[in-house]
Symmetry: C2
Subunit: 147 residues, 2 copies
């Protein structure tokens, strides 16, 4: 997370450019604003998810599984790959979601190392309940911010 209330001014950035590096001040400035804005939005999203017994990652796992409605679940490694998150975090989070009855985990038929992950009806319902508020929050944030 990146929470610097007063970002470095253009003047400060230009002084740095002079001193050591051939950076594009505009792009760096844009990046700093983006980091702060994204951090604020992420914080709001985490708060929203927490209020619904979810988290950013839990939510995204449900999304990824919900998308693949033609397939009978995904391998844990496929979920991890689509989300670009480390395996141990995936293991832990999937287990927590199973505890809560939102997913099932089952050893794969052919490959005994692998785990098949499936959404339960409860999991799908939980996701669909969270979606409207999720999009509303993002919409409101962007709306507020661009004013």
């Amino acid at each position: 997370m990146f929470f610097l209330k007063d970002l470095p001014s253009r003047t400060t950035l230009e002084a740095y450019r002079e001193r050591f590096t051939a950076m594009d001040v505009d792009k760096v400035d844009e990046a700093l604003h983006m980091l702060r804005k994204a951090s604020l939005l992420m914080r709001e999203l985490e708060e929203y998810f927490a209020s619904r017994g979810l988290s950013q990652l839990r939510y995204l796992i449900l999304v990824v599984l919900d998308r693949e409605f033609e397939r009978d679940g995904l391998l844990a490694s496929e979920v991890a790959e689509r989300l670009d998150v480390s395996r141990p975090v995936m293991t832990r989070t999937l287990q927590a979601l199973v505890e809560e009855g939102l997913l099932t985990l089952q050893t794969h038929d052919q490959d005994l190392r692998a785990k098949q992950v499936r959404l339960t009806r409860k999991g799908r319902a939980k996701l669909h309940q969270a979606l409207p508020g999720y999009y509303r929050l993002i919409h409101d944030f962007m709306d507020r911010d661009t004013k």
Copy 2:
């Protein structure tokens, strides 16, 4: 962090809009791209800081203190306020930085509850060593990304 490799398509977003909420699809789409881009940049920054014995927050604490060169340090609460981070996290991080000799903490003269935080010479040097690479990383990321 937000790491969904395939973001919801415009079509998907429009379907959601129809179904439950009067959202601006463009703005939501923009927000999702921003979240992902910021997450990737934050990950690179954390890696950079880790390689130098710092972290995003440790770095920002040094920046905030370095900025206030006219003042003889800041109160811990002032640092927390400028960075919008919770007090317990600030306490812990300041103590770690003191352990490493980058800061000093001293009980305030007038208010015995408060702590005065000051950059040491070593802390200032550490910050100035980290700055060029920090800006270069951001520059390169933005440059790469906009291609």
